[in-house]
Point group: C2
């Protein structure tokens, strides 16, 4: 089992919308995540727009590929895209950057 942590960055002027969208994630999207092997998945959002994702999965490469092939995920990501700080922004380096585990206690 892998524990995965990733970072992303939401535009400071779109935080409220990003937060609201995550209070009403489509049931088809959560079902797709489960089927793709995403478990114990939590998203945290800082007031300055730093997004931290944590999940557990058997194989993150496989889990991510499965989501990339999912139609509902394509629609969801298209809806989320305007909220993210992308290239040209002050922090383009933090677009879904994966972070290395250095310690674990069960």
């Amino acid at each position: 089992m892998q524990r995965v942590c990733f970072l992303a960055r939401v535009r400071p002027d779109r935080l409220a919308e990003y937060r609201a969208a995550h209070r009403e994630v489509w049931p088809e999207m959560t079902a797709a995540l489960r089927e793709a092997g995403w478990a114990n998945y939590t998203i945290f959002l800082d007031d300055d727009g730093l997004v931290i994702g944590y999940l557990e999965t058997d194989d993150f490469d496989v889990a991510r590929q499965r989501m990339e092939q999912s139609g509902v995920n394509t629609s969801w990501q298209a809806r989320m895209a305007p909220f993210f700080a992308g290239i040209g922004d002050q922090r383009p380096d933090e677009g879904f950057r994966q972070i290395t585990e250095i310690f674990h206690l069960d």
Copy 2:
């Protein structure tokens, strides 16, 4: 059960030492964390020094207070203190800052 995510920042010139220390955490320290209620606790470290902690606990205020009263934790934190970027550093705002959960999938 609470899911907790916190941020801290390690000095870029001390990353290797911080990493090495977490390959050999004292057994007394891991025992103290368990007894204090810290479960499924993982630390992630980015190459630029961003530390992300994730844990699950019944009550984080209680779990944190228990660690604050632990002698082994006092010794451990004294050993870690020189590695952290503190006040006067470029990112003093990120000293063990807790981040808000906005989404969870079991």
